[in-house]
Structures are given as C-alpha cells and as structure tokens.
C-alpha cells in the first residue's frame, strides 16, 4: 500500500489504493447483494473509519492533539469547586435521550469525569435519569468513578435516580429536586427536548451556575439564553476528549475534523462549480446524492 508522506495523508492513500479494489468488487459482486447506488456512502464510510482508527492509534502513541479552549469545560472544575465551598450539590443530567443516542453516551462519558472530581472533593452529586438504560449505565459510571477515586463507600445508590418515563414529568420532578436541594452547579450534557428551558430557567432561579451542551440545534437557543456556558453541537462530543485526554476521544475528534475539511472542500467546490456553470458540476453533484 503506498504511503504519501505520513499519517496525515494515509486515509487518502487508503482511498486511492482501495478504489480499484472496490470497483472490481462492484463489478464482480452478484446482482442483488450490493446496492451500487450507495458506493459513495461506502467510500465515505471507509475513509471515515480508516481516519478514526489511524488517528486513535496516532494519539495512543503519544502524538499531541490541540483542542481549542472551551469556556464551558474550563468552568466545570470551577463549578464543582464552587459547589464544594458552598456545601451544595452538583446536579448532572446526561440528557433525556436513551442510551442508543450518541449524545447520551457523550454525556455519560463526561459524567465519569465529573463523578471523579466530586468523589475527590466529597461534593454531593445528583444524577436524575429519564430512561431505565441510561439509569443503569449512569449508576455504573458513577460507582466506578468513586471506586477509581478510592472512595467506594462515598457512593450512595440514590445519587443516580430514575425520575419519570416522560420528559415533562421528568422536568417537573427535577425542578422540584432543584428547588429543594439548591445545587450550586448544574451540568446538562446530552440530548434534550422541550424540557431544556424548563430545567435551565429553574436552575437559574435556584441560583446555580449552569453549563449545558446538546447537539440538538433547536434546543441550543434556550440553553444559550438561560445558561452561563453552552457547548454547541459537536463541542459536546469534544467535551469527553477535552476532559479525559483519552486517545480514543482525541483520535475521534481529529477524524471528525478531517471529515469536516473534506466536506467543506466538497461544498465549496460544488457551490463554485454550479455558480460558474462548470460542465462537470452535475457529475460532481451526483457523487453526493443519496439513494
């Protein structure tokens, strides 16, 4: 397999090397087994997967990855410190999505870090959950974090609670919990729907510092209006990399960035081609059509 000047280009090298192989596979695959209209999706998937694995491997070997400062995440440890000084709890909601949503997993990954900090500082932690499976995962994550911090006895099973199976019931229950316990710091990271503003405004009324992040564009305006710090879209996924510096998260971030560059170049190329009436514009556009 050819190498084109280092790890940065290796995913491109894979693509160039693999293309004739895939073309031959397409030509020889029996009809009905492979939808040839989706070759473009397959190519993008292979490139993304290759980039992901290669950058994770590169990060595991110690190659440093720059992540720009995210004010919301820099405030996390200060927020926990504030809660410790005030003797009030930290409230963490890993979203109101189920465990099959990537945002929920991103939230749970950050929960592990937060639980480690609260374990170190003996700060009370409250983790309400909307669905049973995130409840089970969050319970295990927090328990493990307390064990890793050397304080397994400090973990209380009612730290992580199932509040309700419906988002407004959940927000009513959590709002009540917030107004009674008055957490000093609220952290909302995950998938949220209409209850986002209910939670954030009540948290504001309870006097908490609030850090929120979601990949749902329709909920971001509410968090921006009501919270002190907001992570926008993919910054939620960068949070786990930012806080943990684990190779799998750093490598993923870099692969995502590479893909963003590829997509940006493709969008600009297509836009310019269509604007200036290039003859190859329809062919180029066809490469990206879904089927």
């Amino acid at each position: 397999m050819p190498r084109f000047g280092g790890a940065r280009w290796t995913p491109v090298a894979w693509l160039v090397w693999a293309a004739p192989v895939w073309a031959q596979a397409e030509a020889t695959t029996p009809p009905g087994w492979f939808n040839t209209d989706r070759v473009n999706a397959l190519v993008l998937l292979v490139v993304f997967c290759a980039a992901l694995l290669l950058y994770i491997r590169s990060a595991a070997r110690g190659k440093s990855t720059y992540i720009r400062p995210l004010p919301g995440l820099e405030a996390v440890e200060d927020g926990v410190g504030r809660a410790t000084e005030m003797g009030r709890p930290v409230l963490f909601i890993p979203g109101t999505g189920d465990v099959d949503m990537a945002e929920t997993l991103a939230g749970l990954a950050v929960l592990g870090r937060i639980a480690g900090i609260t374990a170190r500082y003996d700060t009370p932690l409250m983790v309400p959950c909307l669905y049973p499976m995130p409840l089970a995962a969050a319970d295990e994550v927090v328990r493990q974090a307390y064990t890793d911090a050397g304080k397994p006895e400090a973990f209380k099973s009612d730290m992580v609670r199932y509040m309700a199976g419906e988002s407004f019931g959940f927000s009513a229950a959590v709002n009540g919990w917030m107004m009674r316990e008055r957490p000093a710091t609220n952290i909302f990271l995950g998938e949220f729907t209409a209850e986002s503003l209910l939670l954030a405004e009540t948290g504001n009324a309870a006097g908490a510092i609030q850090i929120a992040g979601t990949a749902r564009p329709e909920q971001l305006p509410f968090f921006i209006a009501a919270c002190d710090y907001t992570l926008l879209g993919e910054e939620l996924y960068a949070a786990s990399a930012y806080l943990s510096k684990e190779p799998k998260y750093l490598g993923s971030l870099k692969a995502q960035d590479l893909f963003k560059v590829i997509l940006t170049v493709a969008i600009l190329t297509g836009a310019l081609a269509v604007t200036f009436g290039a003859s190859w514009a329809p062919v180029f556009q066809g490469w990206f059509e879904a089927s």
């Binding site: 419906e166 729907t193 209409a194 749902r216 329709e218 879904a290 089927s291």
Partner: protein, 276 residues
Amino acid sequence: MSLAKRLESLDRRWIFLLIGLSVVLPMFLPITFPERITSQTQALYDTMESLPEGSVIMVPFEVWPSTLPETEPIARAAVRHAFRRQMKIVSLSNVGGGGPSIADRVLREEGNAAGKVYGIDYVNLGYRANYLAVLSGMGTSIRSIYQTDYSGTPVDSLPLMRNVDSYKDVAFIFAIADNATLDYWVSIVGERFGAKIGAGVTAVMAPKMFAYIDAGQMVGLLGGMKGGAEYEKLLGLPDQSTRGMGAQSLIHLLIIAFIVLGNVGFFLSRRNARPA
C-alpha cells in the same frame, strides 16, 4: 433602588403575570389579523392541491399531548384538506405516549364531520415500538409491521389497506410532528424510499426544518401556530390557529418590550457606573 437597577432586575413574577394576561385577554377580546402566507406554507398547500383526488396519503401523528395546542389545529387543517379532496388517509404514530389516541380522536371527529367512514376513507394503524424498525419496515411492507390497526382490527380486513402496503402506494406523507422522529422520516423514508414529505411542526422545530426544505428533502412546512393560521387561511377555514395568533402577537410584542426595558436599564446602569 434606582430606576436603572429596577429596570435591569425586574422580578420575574411581573413578567409571568403580564404574559399570563396576554394569553387570557384575547380569549375575551378576540383579535384577528390578516396573515401573510409564507412560501413554505404555500408550497405545502400547492402540493396537496396537485395530488389527484382520491389519492392515498399518510398522516403520521408524531406528537405528544403537551404540544396539542400547536399541533392539533395543524393536524385538523391537514385532515380537512385531505377529506375535501376526497383523499384517503393512513395514519400511525411512533409516539407511544398518546400519539395514536390523538390521531384516533382527530380522525374520527373530522371524519364524522365530513361523512367519512373508518376503514374505507381513513385508517389509524396505531403504535409499534422502535420507530427505526417501523420506518424501515414500512418501506418493504406495512403489514410486516402492522398486522392489526389501533383497535385491533386485522389490517387485511380494512378496504383502504387492500392496495396499500408500502410507501410506494402512498402519494404523499404529511407528517405532524413535535419531536426528532421527523428527522428519521426525512432521512429514512424520504431519502431511502423516495417518498414525498411535507410537515406541520411546532415553532421550535421550524428553524431546523428550513434546511430540509432548501435541500428539497421536504416539499413544504407549517411552522407552529403561524403556519397553521396561514394554512387555515388558504383553506378558507379559520379556526384555532387563526384565533391563537391574537395572543401570540401580544406575547411577541410584550417580550420585545421586556427586552427593550432590560436594555434601557442596562445602558442606564452603565452610564451611572461611569466615573464622572
């Protein structure tokens, strides 16, 4: 406390009180305004008008009871339009907590008003768990997902469903939605199976849906109560959405007034804080 500080830090309970009055007063003093039709609403209306009379359309009720004040008037307008054009409606819901019963109520009430018969003119398939499986499965065979309808009647016994077994047998999908399931309707049903989709959504979701309209993945959109009011105007049937625009107009003006007040207080405070 100075005026500046008072304006800057108004007790939120005054805000709540004034908002409450803005909602209640129009109930006793109804105000209606002429609606300007947006291109997205017009496109959706034109699509429905362009379908042959008697077409079969799908109207998924992807709504929770909480958003009914916004979504029910849109749903009723869509169903009335369909019945007016003698269209047949296949309905379902991927929202277990109330979607199918909302669909049942709306379809029956509108169906009775229009003289339509269940099983012949409209059908409510109800709810099945796992929306990904449902949306993907209906592309191949609706019967693989729904063997019975919402009331437990075998689908095969419903005259409307005799010639309807996948998206190919449906001319248009007019989704009523208040949650992200609509994204999957667009990405799975629209993109994978090539179905034509339009939607009536809550106002909060509307900004995100503009991207789908622009990309041609949706043919039209009704955004919130305003979208519903525009559609009612096009149908010539002013109803709940039109009436609700009075309160919405008042509330928008009130919020703008609060923003202005807050900024006046902010700038006055800054001016007072500057050293002489």
